[in-house]
């Protein structure tokens, strides 16, 4: 679940036990929000999901997911949605 924390990010200084908790919570968050992003039945809900995942991804040291989610948030229904969904799916796989 997730890779190495990127140096220089806030997460790099998070105590390991807290970071482990955060990563578990992040995985749960992805699982609950990913279906909305796959279907995009409700644009506003999908935008909020992308917004929340972007902030959370940065906190747990996943800047690439954070960047993609931020792009999707501002570009929905366009933007790199497929790429984001793929990254998120891999994170929880």
């Amino acid at each position: 679940m997730g890779g190495e924390v990127v140096a220089g990010t806030v997460a790099a200084a998070v105590p390991p036990a807290v970071l482990a908790d955060l990563r578990v919570a992040f995985a749960h968050e992805i699982s609950s929000r990913l279906p909305h992003l796959r279907q995009v039945a409700d644009l506003e809900m999908a935008r909020r999901d992308a917004h929340t995942l972007a902030s959370s991804a940065w906190v747990v040291g996943e800047p690439e997911i954070a960047r993609l989610a931020r792009e999707v948030e501002s570009a929905l229904p366009g933007g790199p949605l497929a790429e984001l969904v793929d990254k998120l799916s891999r994170y929880v796989a």
């Binding site: 998070v14 807290v18 919570a25 929340t52 902030s55």
Partner: protein
């Protein structure tokens, strides 16, 4: 600072729909020192509705709240909390530009006391540094005495007027001074906590064809000044811009001092420059520095206004303006979100007139012959 070990931790409520953010904030807020834990998170809410109920039940000393919330938005929650259970609210926002910045300004106008950017791609600090910043802002916020919803205050003007004035340092009625202020070129305004709402109230009452320039120094988190200018520009008659070195303040235009520098007026032609703050300067942009430059450059041809805010910034500068013959106004206690800066100015004998917020614009217009 109070020793954390010698007192009960300050109770905080965290509001964010993300469990990751709530867990992260709890870790940051409750991070201990050698002396113990200064703050404790007594409750977590996932949306605005939960926050309103939780705050009413737990009565925390301060709230850290995201704005982008489901069920009930952060703005609605702030308004309700400030109406029902007034509590200092620190906004925790993912963006400091664009739409979210405007939303953060709306939150400040609704009664939030400060804003804090969520960690993001431009944040290179460690958790320790970020946690320090959160705790520093919570330390300030939790000491603020908020008593009513600021928007509710505007609807209770009579109550504000009924509050006894603390006395005037100059007994001459302000209308008598209008003739002596024909040459006023600049209206300089300083504000801090509660400032965005107060600025909105003041500036919306000034006409677009005002012959004077208006200069505003508002204490605000880095990155929010452009949002403040954009937000006010949509709401007030005069155009609102952010100032910079080499600019000349224009009549009928509101110029806001930019983040990260002190904005100084260079001469009586209203040219301005941005200078780096002195080491250890707590508030940047500084109101004292700006007001003092106004005193030096314009003497009696300026009006100084010090609005709501914590601390003392602006008091010395306002005193310098008054000493050079400018007319000086201070917001009164009844209508101030925080009666800190205006009180400090009043105590320094820097204030000609202390007025309710709604009375400041009419007083200014009287001073410049536009009553």
């Amino acid at each position: 600072m109070t020793s954390a070990a010698s007192s009960t931790p300050v109770p905080i409520i965290v509001v964010d729909d993300s469990p990751v953010q709530r867990r992260f904030l709890r870790a940051a807020i409750e991070a201990g020192t050698e002396a113990g834990t200064e703050f404790t998170v007594v409750g977590e809410a996932r949306n605005g509705k939960e926050a309103v109920a939780l705050v009413a039940r737990l009565r925390p000393a301060a709230i850290l709240m995201d704005l982008d919330l489901p069920v009930m938005s952060g703005i609605e929650a702030i308004e309700l909390i400030m109406a029902v259970s007034p509590t200092p609210i620190l906004v925790y926002s993912a963006h400091v530009g664009g739409q979210e910045s405007t939303r953060a300004l709306e939150a400040l106008a609704a009664g939030a006391v400060d804003v804090l950017a969520k960690p993001g791609p431009h944040d290179t600090g460690s958790l320790d540094q970020y946690a320090d910043e959160i705790r520093k802002k919570l330390r300030v916020a939790s000491r603020i005495r908020v008593i009513t919803h600021p928007r509710g205050k505007l609807r209770t003007r009579e109550a504000a007027h009924a509050t006894p004035r603390l006395g005037l340092t100059r007994t001459t009625p302000i209308t008598d001074e209008v003739a002596a202020r024909v040459g006023v070129k600049l209206i300089a305004v300083g504000a801090s906590t509660g400032g965005p709402q107060a600025l909105h109230t003041l500036l919306r009452a000034l006409p677009s064809d005002l012959e004077q320039a208006v200069l505003v120094v508002q204490h605000m988190a880095e990155g929010f000044i452009a949002g403040l200018a954009s937000w006010l520009d949509q709401l007030v008659p005069m155009p609102v811009v952010v100032g910079g070195s080499g600019c000349r303040l224009q009549p009928g235009t509101i110029t806001i001092a930019p983040s990260g520098h002190n904005l100084l007026v260079q001469d009586d032609r209203l040219r301005v420059s941005c200078v780096d703050p002195q080491p250890g300067q707590f508030h940047v942009p500084g109101i004292d520095q700006c007001f003092t430059s106004v005193a030096d450059s314009l003497g009696p041809d300026a009006v100084g206004i010090l609005l709501t805010g914590m601390g003392r910034d602006g008091a010395q500068g306002l005193k310098a303006m008054r000493a050079r013959g400018a007319t000086t106004l201070g917001q009164d206690e009844a209508t101030s979100t925080v009666y800190g800066m205006p009180q400090a100015a009043f105590a320094l004998d820097a204030v000609d007139r202390q007025l309710a917020l709604d009375d400041i614009a009419p007083a200014v217009l009287g001073l410049v012959g536009r009553s």
